[in-house]
């Protein structure tokens, strides 16, 4: 109750500024250029695998999906800052994933 009163007295004021300062201190910025390099390298690797096609098709598909998920995770964790957000934000972000996986698995079961 006490804290609500304080917030009421300073709308958008000190209480929030404090939170933001804490947020800023809680993490240094990730090394964005390193993430960029990884994303670029993985893209080159993806194209190379398809281009040279020296592996059985099943393996190519598995590797491609693995690298796509890897790249997506890099973007979500570092560019979208999910690694540095409170867990409840990460949960909110991940909430549609079980449904998405279920949907994809369901349609794939049709063509086993």
């Amino acid at each position: 109750m006490e804290s609500t009163e304080t917030a009421h007295e300073h709308p958008g004021g000190q209480a929030m500024a404090g939170d933001e300062a804490g947020h800023e201190e809680s993490h240094a910025h990730p090394r964005y250029m390193l993430v960029w390099l990884w994303l670029a390298l993985l893209t080159v690797a993806e194209v190379a695998i398809v281009w040279f096609a020296f592996l059985p098709r099943v393996w190519i598909v598995v590797m491609l999906l693995f690298m796509a998920v890897w790249k997506a995770l890099l973007v979500a964790l570092y560019f979208m800052h999910l690694r540095f957000e409170p867990r409840r934000v990460a949960l909110l972000a991940a909430s549609p994933l079980p449904l998405a996986v279920l949907l994809i698995l369901a349609v794939m079961m049709e063509y086993r």
């Binding site: 796509a68 973007v75 957000e85 998405a100 063509y111």
Partner: protein, 199 residues
């Protein structure tokens, strides 16, 4: 932000989740977007594997090298976007202006390449009516392109705001929320590039 504070009669809206309202809103929106694109991919799986027509091999119809470069372009725009946000967070107005505009321009480049790709494909007679392959290709990349287009419009608006000094270390939330959307569009493209072009 000021509007939201007034609306809640002075109570800081962050209290519940300890995350500001616009960010929560964007994440909920992105969750619905995940399902939207998943439904497109799900339909694609059904149509592709249930199709009686033979599906072309990767690179047979579509131009993989050009699209790989376009993928790289979109990844670069994600980097300039985080740089814009990072600059705003520390109050570097010049950096914010530069990187926001760069993101808008690089995003436009992606769209430009996609339009050229469509033109080329249509010229070769591969259109949305060219069987299931054509219709799924144009539906998936088209919806993604529309998302990029919306993002680019917002980015130009944000650049305009940045040039007028609208973002600093106390007002960077709009840029962060726009950034979340932009990175999501990049993330979706990473998945679509694999599903549509490479597999």
């Amino acid at each position: 932000m000021a509007g939201a504070v007034t609306y809640y009669a002075g109570r800081a809206p962050e209290r519940g989740l300890a995350v500001y309202t616009q960010k929560v809103g964007m994440w909920v929106f992105l969750a619905s977007e995940v399902m939207f694109f998943t439904s497109l991919i799900g339909s694609y799986i059904i149509l592709r594997f249930g199709a009686s027509e033979t599906w072309p091999l990767p690179g047979e119809v579509l131009n993989i090298p050009i699209t790989a470069i376009n993928t790289f372009i979109l990844i670069c725009s994600s980097v300039t976007m985080v740089k814009a946000f990072a600059a705003a967070e520390v109050g570097d107005k010049r950096g914010t202006r530069l990187f926001t505009l760069a993101t808008a321009l690089i995003g436009s480049t992606f769209l430009g390449v996609q339009i050229l790709e469509y033109r080329e494909l249509l010229h070769e007679g591969f259109g949305p009516s060219s069987g299931l392959y054509g219709s799924t290709f144009y539906t998936m990349t088209g919806f993604h392109g529309f998302h990029v287009f919306s993002g680019v419009c917002c980015l130009f608006w944000a650049s305009w705001k940045a040039f007028r000094g609208g973002y600093d270390n106390r007002a960077y939330k709009g840029l962060e929320v726009l950034g979340l959307y932009w990175h999501f569009v990049d993330l979706v493209w990473i998945i679509l590039f694999t599903v549509v072009y490479l597999i």
